[in-house]
Symmetry: C2
Subunit: 147 residues, 2 copies
């Protein structure tokens, strides 16, 4: 597939996808949220080819979503951790997760759950709302193009 | 890149990405939210190669996110519209958009805005919350693996 960069598109969705719009990228971010920090652990959890993982980690670091640090145990390994920019993808991951919970599992099929550690409860459904609190799915929306 | 299907992964994020985890897919859904219904209009708005667009529309229809209908003007064209499953991707698009607004534009650079048509106001920031209303970004979360 030809890849047209959307780096200069005025739509924030297009620009976001330019950074995170592939499968592996969001799964790497998911793993980082779950506390994975080392190349070998990303590799083992995701079953990715090393060269692809290496390229994606480099891309995510250059884009400012991950940062490299010396290993927390003093070993020679380097570790990757989420920056604020990376952590701010939590709503994207939660939205994808909740859509998947609703549509991608058969009735009764078990899925992994994301819960509040303190209470064990699921998160609230993520519902886009207008400034005055109505569900955005129930109102007319407009996209105002940048000049 | 090798494509390993995540169709059987127990993580709802992985399964969602298996359906919508490519760039063009979410942009087609974005266009559909903006009222685009015809092949030629998707093609023109997205600047996609016709064969890629055709493959993606077929995939989205088979996956139940779009449905085909006779053209609303009685012509021979067929139109694509979002199903409920497709419309339920709104939180994903809003989350991507808000992240892009925050991180993908230079200060002062103009971006397209998604607004409530009635008031002209932006939507509220989408914040994942625990069942008792705390911001999920501020608490410890666990992923409970399916058995």
């Amino acid at each position: 597939m030809r890849h047209i960069s959307m780096e200069h598109d005025a739509c924030p969705i297009a620009r976001s996808l330019d950074v995170v719009g592939d499968w592996w990228t969001l799964l790497i971010i998911r793993e980082a949220f779950m506390g994975v920090r080392r190349f070998s652990d990303f590799q083992r959890h995701l079953g990715m080819a090393r060269n692809i993982l290496s390229t994606r980690l480099k891309h995510l670091t250059e884009a400012g979503l991950l940062e490299q640090q010396p290993a927390s145990d003093g070993s020679a390994y380097r570790e990757y951790s989420l920056t604020q920019k990376g952590r701010d993808l939590l709503p994207v991951l939660v939205a994808l997760r909740q859509w998947g919970e609703r549509y991608s599992f058969a009735p009764g099929e078990l899925y992994s759950r994301l819960v509040d550690r303190e209470t064990g409860h699921d998160l609230q459904p993520l519902i886009p709302r207008t400034a005055d609190g109505r569900s955005a799915g129930d109102v007319d929306l407009d996209v105002l193009q940048a000049a």
